[in-house]
């Protein structure tokens, strides 16, 4: 009986989680092609300072949580070992979303590019629930948006 309830929960969490993941990826791809005109690079010295008309710190912040299904798979993998593939997708989504938000911030000042892009990441629910929970992560992407003089 417990097993049936458990499987219903896992199955439900899986279906909902898959749906959210798919629609999120669609949204990310749409936004990415819309933001293609603003490149973000990790290099610090790609632009000549004389050409910079305006600069601004831009950042994109994403908090994302795993679901029950991902948690179960991850906790089992904790015992058996191996690549935690459900969380790979989760973090990939979060990173790309963070970059997109950063780019949206940059596009508000009509920036030409973002230089010196960096990532920070932290796990949010580890303190609150003693390391348990479905896994909640915060990812911040930040960089310097620059507006260049047109030649």
């Amino acid at each position: 009986m417990d097993l049936i309830i458990f499987l219903v929960f896992v199955g439900g969490a899986y279906l909902i989680g898959q749906h959210i993941e798919k629609s999120h990826y669609k949204e990310i791809e749409k936004k990415e092609s819309a933001c293609l005109h603003i490149p973000s690079v990790t290099s610090k010295k790609i632009v000549n300072l004389d050409e910079v008309l305006d600069a601004k710190l831009v950042f994109g912040n994403v908090v994302i949580s795993g679901d029950y299904f991902k948690m179960i798979v991850a906790s089992l993998l904790n015992f058996f070992g191996g690549r935690v593939t459900p969380y790979e997708k989760l973090l990939d989504r979060a990173r790309r979303e963070a970059i997109l938000r950063m780019k949206q911030d940059a596009s508000s000042m009509d920036a030409d590019m973002i230089i010196n892009t960096r990532f920070e990441m932290s796990k949010l629910d580890s303190m609150a629930r003693g390391g348990g929970g479905t896994g909640m992560f915060e990812i911040i992407a930040y960089g310097t948006a620059v507006k260049l003089a047109k030649k």
Binding site: M1, I4, V10, V73, F79, P86, E88
Partner: protein
């Protein structure tokens, strides 16, 4: 260098392995581990119960009885039922006869169970259902049958080993793995406990036949718990521990036919050795109160 915007076509950061495939692979691995654990459980308990002395059996019993807030076998009905059980075990010369202590407990759930050491509990709800002494004897003998087959020790031993494994996994941070293994083992266990029920039924009907000279009341005693089974059926259907009553009844009827036990009519059944006033008492008090009011 001229910047050319390119769309991201591939993603090397995520594996394309289907999440359900990962999940079922893990589940299958757990299944294999559970089978190993289960075999271990069966082996340990089946071997160990052959060497458990009666003294330890009794020591275990005191552990369990102390967990209950009620006194064991103190009231009048309990003593009457005890008298019946004593008479059965004396006449049939059952081993460990003095180990069995019957107690009635006030519960709405129709049930009877036996603890390590031989403490038998019958709930008032079940007691109210009995129509004859034969049925009561059948239920008592069924519980004694569990004891004779050492089913309580099996249950205890398995709980101990399984609990130990789960606890160790929990300490190692793999609590979920332990829960999975418990779930799997419980499913494997269903067949095992069904076999135990049937063996106890078999023992009980033999006792009934030897004591009364016929096996009437055996089948109807099983049917008394049918309501409970129906409720169970809606809840966990095929996962029921007790084989569905219909199945058990069929098994018992086959057995009675095979052994040529005599079945007699309801008039041949012995009346209960006690009168149950569990509900009547209350109503008679109410009547007295009503009468008092009328006379005023």
């Amino acid at each position: 260098m001229k910047f050319v915007a390119r769309e991201i076509k591939t993603n090397v950061n995520v594996s394309q392995e289907h999440p359900l495939k990962v999940f079922f692979k893990l589940l299958a691995s757990l299944g294999v581990i559970s089978v190993v654990v289960y075999i271990l459980l069966v082996a340990v308990t089946e071997i160990a119960i052959q060497y458990i002395p009666q003294k330890i059996n009794h020591a275990l019993s005191s552990l369990f009885v102390n967990q209950f807030p009620f006194s064991v076998g103190s009231d009048e009905t309990s003593q009457k039922v005890q008298g019946l059980l004593d008479d059965v075990s004396r006449k049939l010369d059952l081993p460990h006869a003095d180990s069995f202590k019957v107690s009635i407990i006030d519960m709405d759930d129709k049930n009877a169970f036996i603890f390590p050491g031989g403490n038998i509990f019958i709930t008032t709800a079940l007691l109210n259902e009995f129509n004859s002494e034969n049925e009561l004897t059948m239920v008592l003998a069924h519980e004694v049958g569990h004891y004779m087959n050492n089913d309580h020790l099996r249950a205890l031993g398995r709980a101990a080993v399984l609990g130990g494994i789960v606890a160790v996994l929990g300490v190692g941070g793999a609590g979920e793995v332990g829960q999975f293994i418990t779930g799997f083992v419980n499913i494997f266990d269903l067949k095992y406990s069904r076999d135990q029920e049937e063996r106890a039924d078999k023992f009980a009907v033999d006792i009934l036949n030897q004591y009364y000279g016929h096996a009437s009341g055996a089948v109807s005693a099983l049917q008394l718990i049918e309501n409970k089974e129906v409720e169970k059926w809606t809840l966990n259907g095929f996962l029921s521990t007790h084989p569905v009553v219909v199945e058990r009844v069929r098994y018992l009827q086959d057995l009675i036919r095979k052994r040529n036990f005599i079945i007699k009519g309801p008039s041949e059944l012995k009346p209960l050795p006690f009168v149950l006033n569990l509900y009547e008492e209350e109503s008679s008090e109410e009547i007295v109160e009503l009468e008092a009011e009328v006379s005023e």
